[in-house]
Symmetry: C2
Subunit: 129 residues, 2 copies
């Protein structure tokens, strides 16, 4: 059996993917892959997602330079979620978020309000030319 067939793809042919940083173990982002994206990720050793909004493969960092070197690929018990361990490259500390922050999970629930609790490390205007 092909290793790609082991993944329980959604009806749309996708699988949710969590990217966790090597070392810090911070959860950086969440995205989707299709079969081709996962195959390309393994081939390149860099995260390639499927952008649902643009309906195409998205080699993370293709515009920003914030590439994710993949160290480990895990599948969960139901075989319908993937966990990547990545090295977030192109900036120190790593920037995974399009807002210029380290992680996409920068809004924290405090009482009954969401607060931004992570600094912008780089102006998005200078990330995306």
């Amino acid at each position: 059996m092909d290793w790609l067939d082991k993944v329980a793809w959604t009806a749309d042919g996708l699988v949710p993917v969590i990217a966790q940083e090597l070392g810090s173990k911070d959860v950086l982002m969440f995205a989707w892959m299709n079969r081709e994206a996962l195959a390309r990720t393994v081939e390149l050793g860099e995260a390639v997602y499927f952008s649902r909004s643009r309906a195409r493969l998205w080699h993370k960092g293709e515009e920003s330079g914030h590439v994710q070197k993949v160290h480990d690929i895990r599948l969960d018990c139901d075989e319908d979620v993937i966990l990547l361990t990545v090295e977030q490259r192109g900036h120190e500390p790593g920037i995974a978020c399009h807002t210029g922050r380290h992680s996409c999970f920068f809004q924290r629930l405090e009482g009954d309000e969401w607060h931004s609790v992570e600094p912008v490390l780089k102006d998005p205007k200078s990330i995306y030319r």
Copy 2:
């Protein structure tokens, strides 16, 4: 604005949720919440998910005793994914997976095969009576 309205729920009224362990920072599991599940999670201080297969609220640990005490709730940049920081209770070390393993992400891609690389800490037969 209600803090629950800030979440970009799917057409089905759900949001994907990642549970990460406090301290170890291990990613334990991935599940879904609806509006009521998220409200209950905050109210109880324990993770309540929405089981899509059973189409009902699922207070994690209700059968197994492996409750997740919630320490932190984050929302991502697109406001459509939630990250919980949890203390995995009821067993030491924590068991989040229904297979009796610490984490649901126990299958690792090695070459072109998925290998189970995490031990079963407790026989699922003795977890679910």
